[in-house]
């Protein structure tokens, strides 16, 4: 059986490149990016699942997601979170999306 640390390493998306600021800042940064992409969201949250500022669960409910497949809904969230997804801030991302209709 694998050690948890091995699994965690294998799950990482990119090499870690920490910017300035602590863990709370990365939650705030993700929230800001999501708010900018979904200004009329009826539900929007970012949870730091591990308390380490790199494993997140984001939830978005927005009219912008109405009528889209789950794949297309998640693509919009990926687009909104492009910078932290690609600069290594996000090691793991869980997504829950909903339309509002």
């Amino acid at each position: 059986m694998l050690e948890n640390a091995d699994r965690a390493r294998a799950c990482q998306i990119e090499t870690v490149t920490w910017g300035v600021g602590g863990y709370a800042d990365s939650v705030e940064r993700l929230e800001e990016l999501l708010r900018a992409a979904f200004p009329d969201a009826t539900e929007l949250s970012v949870v730091d699942r591990t308390g380490t500022g790199d494993h997140f669960h984001v939830t978005v409910a927005s009219p912008r997601l109405d009528g889209l497949s789950l794949v297309d809904q998640h693509r919009l969230v990926h687009d909104a979170l492009g910078p932290p997804l690609h600069d290594g801030t996000i090691h793991e991302l869980r997504i829950t999306t909903k339309g509002v209709r």
Partner: protein, 120 residues
């Protein structure tokens, strides 16, 4: 087009259900790959798995092709279904089985054994 790119495309297009994952079904290296694998197995999907860990280029080429940044990635008849969250959500609502039936035929649970494709 690189050769690797073509081999990834061939898996996506030729396999009924392709799961690109970290590790193998025998030795899964990431909880998210495990979640997708379990959801697909519960739905009885005729699975083909590809381990992306042996060569970082697999992941890069795959994400370029699919436009999807994270692993796992699941394709049914060449179309991206999503990652672990979507697989679980679709499985929970019964939609995963409906999708498999629609695209692979009602006899998709034909007892075909899981297949592993190596891209190394």
């Amino acid at each position: 087009m690189t050769e690797l790119n073509e081999r990834i495309k061939r898996v996506i297009e030729d396999e009924p259900v392709a799961l690109f994952m970290k590790g193998t079904p025998e030795l899964v290296m990431c909880g998210n790959s495990q979640r997708a694998l379990e959801a697909l197995r519960r739905a009885g999907a005729p699975l083909t798995t590809v381990d992306i860990l042996p060569n970082p280029a697999i992941r890069q080429e795959l994400s370029m092709l699919s436009g999807w940044p994270t692993i796992p990635q699941v394709f049914v008849r060449g179309e991206l279904i999503g990652g672990a969250d979507i697989c679980e959500e679709l499985a929970a609502s019964g939609e995963l089985e409906r999708t498999l039936e629609e695209r692979l035929g009602s006899d998709y649970r034909n007892g075909r054994e899981e297949r592993i494709v190596s891209l190394v």
